[in-house]
Point group: C3
C-alpha cells in the first residue's frame, strides 16, 4: 500500500469499474463488486489492493499473493494462484498503469499562487494554476491553465507554457515554447546557451545562441537534464517523447515523436532523431548525425555514424547489435586460444 | 594553510592530542607539545601545519617538506625527511582524515531560521537547525535536530529527515525518508518520479510512481544527482554508502551499505547492489541486475549481467577485469601482426 | 530571424560596418551601404539578414538563399549563389560569430537589485550589477562590477566573483574565487565538497575538503555541471576554458587555458590537463593522470593513462586514435572470417 504521506488517493473503485477503464476482462469467477483501494506489488498487496503479474519469472509471488485483484494476461493466468479476482488484459503493463493512474491521478494539485512567488506584472497566468513558494516568472511569459510551477523554479522572459504542464522545483526554463501536458523534472535546465565555441584571433569565443527550445505536447523530461536552445535554428522535442534524468540535448537537435531516452544519455549538436526511437541509458549520439525512426540503441553505446530507420545498434562505436554481440564473443574467444594469448 | 574566508578552524591542538585522536604513534624524537593549527599539502605546509605522506611517489616532497608534523606509515618513514615530528599510523590516510576533521569539523553551523524561509505550519523542525534563505519546507515534513537546510532547497510534503543531516543549496527532496547524519549535495534531486514508460493505445504514457526513497544513516550524496522514488516498492540506499556527483539512481534500485559510487555513474531500474561495492566513475549498471557484495567495477564499465560476490569486473560490456585487460592487449597486438592488419 | 521575445537586438548595421568589425572583405559587387538587421540560417534568412556558408555540404542551401548578405570563404564563394552581397573571410565561422555578437551582444542587462534578493550586510556588490529575484549572497562575498546573478542562485560566504561575470539561475557557488567575464550556467554547482572517502575503523568516512575552486577569466561553464573544491590544494580552471553541460570536475583537478570540454565529460580527482585540450562529449579521464597540452580526445573515450602533448586518442581504454580505428576495423573483420566466427 502506498504511503499516504506522499500520495493522494482516489477511489475506492469496484473491480468492474477498474476492468472497464483499463480495457481488461474479468476472469471467470471474478466479482465485479469487490472494492479496491490502491495498488501494490504481488508480495505486499492486501485484500483491497490491485497488483499485476506480467513476468513469468515472478510466478512464485503470483502463486501466494494475497492481493484483492491481479491484472495479468490470458497466458500467464494459467500459472498457479490463490487470487479469486483476475483481470485479463492483452497488455497487463498498460492495464495496470491505467489502474494506477485511477487511484493516483496526476492533477489533484490545489490551485493557488504563493505570496512569495515573484511573477512579473506583464506575465499572464491561466486559471487553476498552482505556483509555489519562491517561483520567479519573467516578463511577458504566458503560463497556461492548470499548470503547476514547483517551488523555486524560474521561468524566463517570454516563455510560453501550455495548459496542464508541470515544472519541477528548482528548474530553470528560458527561451522556450512548451506545449500542453508537459512535465519537466526538478533541477532541469531548458533553454540554456548552446555550446558554440569558435576559435578567434584572441582565443576561444562563444557565438551568440539565438534559437529557441520548442517542446511538443505531453513530453516528459526528468530531473537535472539540460536542453540547450538552438544557435540559429531551434532545438525541438516532438510530442509524446519521454526523457529520463541527467540527459543532455545540445543545440539544434531535433527529436521526433514518442521517443524514449533513458538516463544519462546525450545528443550532440544538430543531430536529427526520428520518431519512436528508443535510446538506452548513458548512450551518446555524436553531432550532426541522422538517426532514423524506430531505431533502438543499446545502453551505453557511442553512436558515431548515421543509423537507418528500424536499425538496432550497440557498442562503442555503435554497430548493428548482432555484429556487436559477435564481436564481443570473438574477443572473449580470442584470449582463450593458444598462440593469441596476450 | 586553508583559506579562512571559507573554512572555520578549531584548535590549535598539540601533537600529543592529535596522535591520540587519530590513533597514531609519535615517532622517536617527536615532541608531544608542539602546537599545530591546520592541515596542508607537503609542499606548502608550514611549521604549524600537519601534512601527510602516504604515497612513495611523493618522497621528494616529503624530503623537503617544512610541515610542523607529518603523518606517515612505519615503512614510509624510512624515506629521507627533514621533519622532526612524525606520526606513525597503520593507515596514514585515515589518521590524516581524522586530524583534518579535528581542525575543520563539519557541524559548526550556527542555528537559526531565515526569515525568508517558507516552512509550512504543519512541518516540525528540531532544535538547533539552521535553515537558510529561500528554503521551502512542505506540509507535515519533519526535520530532525541539528539539521542544516541550504539556501533555496525544497523539502516536499511529508518528508522525514533524521538529525544532523545537511541538505545542499537548490536541492529538491520529496517522497523520502532520510536517516541521521546524511549529507546531500547542492542541486541534487531526491524522490523524483521514476521513469516508467508504458506503450498504451494512445501512445506512450508514464505509470504512477507511488514508491518512496529510503536513505539510511550517514549516507553522503554529492551534487546534481538524481535518486528517483520507487514505482510500487521503494528505492533504498543503505547506511554508510557514499555517492559522488551527477549520479543517477533509478526507481526501485536497492543499494546496500558502505558502497562507494564515483562521479557520473548510474544504476538503472530495479537493480540490486550488495554491501561494500565500489563503483568507478561513469559506470553504468543495467536494469534488474543483481550485483553481489564486495564487488569492484572499473571506471566507465557498462555492466549488463549479474556480478557475483567479490568479483572485479571492467569493460563494455563488463567482464572479469583480468579478461578485460587481456582482451585489450590482444586487440592491440592483433593490428600489429602482418595479415590481420585492417 | 530571431524571436524578439527572447533576444534583444542591436543595429541595424551596414554591410561595410559588419565587414570591418568581423575582419572580412566585401566581395566584388557587394554594397557597403545595405542595412542588415539580424542573423539567420541560409534557408530562412531574408533580405535584411546575414547568413553564413562554411560547409560545402550546404551548397544547395547557399545556391538559393535569399539572405541579404552571406559570409563565406574565398574558396566556397565559387559555389553557385544568388546573393549579391558576399563577405569573404579567412575563417567564416569566426566572422559570423563576430557579426552575431554585434546584433546580439551579451551585456545588455539592465542593472538593479531585486527586492527579494537576500544579500548579506557584509557582502559587497560592484556598480552596474543585476541581481535577480531570490538570489542569496553570503557574508563577505565580493561581486564585481557589471555582474548578473540569475534568479535563485546562491553565492556562498567569502566567494569572490570578478567583473562582468554571469551566474545562472539556481546555480550554487561556494568556496570559490572566480575571474572576470566568467559565465556559469543554470543549476551548476561550484565548490561542492570533494569526494574524499577513507575507510576508517567504524566504516567509510569523508575527509575534510578544505581547498577552493579557482576559475580564471573568460571561462564558460554550462548548465548542471559540478566543479568540486580541492581537498587540500585547489581545483583550478584556466582562463579561456569552455565547458559544456553536465560536466564533472573532481577535487584537485587542474585544467589549463583555452580547453574545450563537450557535454557530460568528466575528470576524476587530481588529474592535470594542459592548455588547448579538446575533450569530446561523455569522455571520462581517470584520477591522477597528466594530459598534455594540445591533446584531443575522441567522444566517449575512457582515458586511463597519461597522454603526451599533442596526442590524439580515442577508445575505451583510450589509445592513439589511429590505433583505435584500426582495432575497430580488425574486430569487425574478424567476425567475417571463417574459422574465427563466434
Amino acid at each position: 500500500m502506498t504511503d499516504d504521506r506522499f500520495f493522494t488517493r482516489c477511489g475506492p473503485f469496484s473491480l468492474g469499474v477498474l476492468a472497464a477503464c483499463s480495457k481488461a476482462d474479468l476472469a471467470e469467477g471474478a466479482s465485479t463488486a469487490v472494492l479496491l483501494r490502491g495498488i501494490a506489488p504481488l508480495e505486499t498487496a492486501e485484500a483491497d489492493d490491485v497488483s499485476v503479474f506480467c513476468d513469468a519469472r515472478r510466478a512464485d509471488a503470483f502463486a501466494v499473493s494475497r492481493a484483492g485483484a491481479i491484472i495479468t494476461s490470458a497466458k500467464l493466468a494459467a500459472h498457479r494462484h490463490d487470487c479469486a479476482n483476475l483481470l485479463i488484459a492483452r497488455d497487463p503493463r498498460f492495464a495496470f498503469a491505467a489502474v494506477g493512474l485511477m487511484f493516483h491521478p496526476r492533477c489533484t494539485d490545489t490551485a493557488g499562487i504563493s505570496g512569495t512567488a515573484d511573477i512579473h506584472a506583464t506575465a499572464s497566468v491561466g486559471e487553476g494554476c498552482r505556483i509555489d513558494s519562491g517561483v520567479v516568472v519573467g516578463a511577458h511569459a504566458h503560463i497556461g491553465e492548470g499548470c503547476h510551477l514547483g517551488a523555486n523554479c524560474v521561468i524566463g522572459d517570454g516563455v510560453e507554457i501550455g495548459p496542464q504542464s508541470v515544472i519541477g522545483c528548482n528548474a530553470t526554463v528560458s527561451h522556450a515554447l512548451i506545449g500542453a501536458g508537459v512535465r519537466i523534472g526538478a533541477g532541469t535546465v531548458i533553454g540554456g546557451e548552446g555550446f558554440g565555441v569558435v576559435l578567434g584571433p584572441a582565443g576561444l569565443m562563444c557565438s551568440a545562441q539565438v534559437g529557441r527550445v520548442i517542446i511538443g505536447d505531453n513530453v516528459r523530461i526528468g530531473g537535472n537534464c539540460t536542453i540547450d536552445r538552438g544557435a540559429l535554428d531551434d532545438t525541438v522535442i516532438g510530442s509524446g517523447t519521454m526523457l529520463d534524468n541527467l540527459i543532455q540535448i545540445a543545440h539544434n537537435v531535433r527529436i521526433g515523436r514518442n521517443c524514449i531516452f533513458a538516463g544519462q544519455s546525450g545528443v550532440a549538436g544538430s543531430a536529427i532523431i526520428g520518431d519512436n526511437v528508443m535510446v538506452g541509458g548513458a548512450v551518446s549520439i555524436s553531432d550532426h548525425l541522422t538517426i532514423g525512426s524506430n531505431v533502438r540503441i543499446a545502453g551505453k553505446s557511442g553512436v558515431a555514424q548515421d543509423v537507418a530507420d528500424g536499425a538496432v545498434v550497440g557498442g562503442y562505436p555503435a554497430v548493428p547489435v548482432r555484429q556487436w554481440h559477435r564481436q564481443n564473443l570473438a574477443l572473449a574467444a580470442m584470449i582463450k586460444k593458444p598462440g593469441t594469448d596476450a
